[in-house]
Amino acid sequence: MDKNIRVKKYLLSAFLLILAGTVLSLFTGKYPLASALLGGEDPQAVKVFLALRLPRTCMALLGGFGLGTAGYVYQMVFHNPLASPDIIGVSSGASAGAAFGILFLSAGAFPVTAASFLGGLTAVALTLALTRLAPGTGQGTIVLAGIAVHSLAQTLLMILKLTADPERELASIEYWIMGSLNAVSLYRLPFTAVLCLFCLAGIFLLRRQVLLLSVDQEEGRMLGVAVEKIRFLVLLLATLLTAAIISLTGLISFIGLIAPHTARLLTKDNSFPTLFLGGLLGSFLLLSADLLARSVTAGELPVSIFTSLLGVPFLLYLMLKRN
């Protein structure tokens, strides 16, 4: 089969899956919406749909797409199939920031989001500053600096957890780290959405350069890429994207790792359609995981449980099939 047609088929299938998932997601939830919307007697139902159900579905689509794309970018830039936002400390920085927010600001949703966003950015700024200070410009330096900052943020998080009241704050911190789309609502979505779209647009505009970064650095330079500048810019966009998403949802594991790999195993290359497919698979994964997280039990479950439960078997299947 012609490769282009095959890739198009994958993209189309992903679109259709997402469409089905979106419809299902819009009509699944604790508030009895389906009958109320059709019957049209409950004015509350419309509000619930617009203020909670729709934003949550949008966040699942956008968040999954963002995490999948950011993961792809990290893996390309670092030439490392295991690279994820944690490699330069953004996740652990965001966690420490969220814990700080929960302990010292207020358990309210907005201060925690703001603190976690700042925490993620601080960690990355620290990583990049350390890289600047060190002689040499290889990716080795940035990874090493990232590991140092990651450990530092983890230590800080541990200290914060230790001082937390186990009944109240510690529980909140643990729940935050497990991730959930429960906090998403119409009032909280716009900032995150705008930031995500901005970063995604940037990454898509720079898609050629991202692909070139994945080849040898010298080769990239010969092909006319200002390697360091572009790398810095692309990393910044991917990091901002990740920080914007996880500051609202808490840590969501595996999507950034699994979605791009799955896409690559399907298309068998590193091209723009693969980047896009990675994003779509991320959307589908988060959409399905969130659907399960809010409907399996009467309460809310952490979304990360399901991103791993759903994503890992699929990745393993593709891996084994390839061999």
Partner: protein, 358 residues
Amino acid sequence: MKKFISTFMILILALSVTACAAGNSAGTAQSPEQAADTGLSSSAAMQVTYPVTLNDQAGRQVVIEKEPETLVSGYYISTSLLLALNCQDRMTGIEAKAKNRPVYRLSAPSIIDLPSVGSAKEFDLEGCAALNPDLVILPVRLKDVFPTLEELGITVLAVNPENQQLLEEAALLIGTATNTLPAADSLFQSAKDSLAQLEEALKDTKKPAVYLSGNSSFLSTAGSNMYQSNLITQAGGINAAAELTDNYWSEISYEQLLAWNPDYIIAASDASYTVDSILNDPNLAQCKAVKNGNVYQLPNGIESWDSPVPGSFLGSLWLASILHPDEYPDIQWKEAAAAFYETFYRFTPDLENLYDRS
């Protein structure tokens, strides 16, 4: 004979409590009711004779050789029980963060500065051993440290006051161990009387739906299997989250809360958020409780009445006065609260300032 009656009575008082004075066998034809009747009417019969063997709430047999003169409590509920049993002067060690408990400050300020033996999270074995107490009372969840303490020659009594029944059993255990059975026996009487009175007052009223939000977030709540659910039902309300059957606080969504649409939202005593944050949350603007301004926080100025402490019945009485002000006016629970704390904790509570702002 006295010895014998005391032995048998303790056996009756709680299923998990057995007391065997040395050289006595408890097998007789006397019915449990008779024993309880004669026992409870005479406080002299409530004298404990040592050595006494107890089955503690971890299922261990604990022999207490003589009446303990020095006590360490590693859990706030057992500390609250010790205060109610007037044992504060025998305490030589206390759990961590004692200064955060207003009832200690009000009832026995001296215990706040006792050496800390840590918390259930981080127990300080050496610190506890250094105090060399006659008896250490610890929660069951610290069971890993029991063998070590015993090797050091320290007697450990494990309690597990996770609900009202277990709390009453724990009170009798501690009462027997510390020779304060009369107080342990009467401790829950006023609670039972007040709750019976309340039930009578509310018998024909309509029951509103009440959503109890947990300490960590107002989107966490207690299902019907949880101790805290009783607080609502005793106060003449229906737990809006009754369909949840988890044994711990469950996380729920805004949607779920709106679907339940409770008449009242009651925040836990130690909530890390404010009542205003619920009232001002735009996602909840359509919720009945928020629309009508029926959002309150359980008082925390004395104790957290949503945890199984002896005074927890006051949480139900307070809530009843919110849900049913006509049938159960404010003054009634305040009288009950004043009487309770004056009798068992030896202070007069300030019931105009119900919240600890420190």
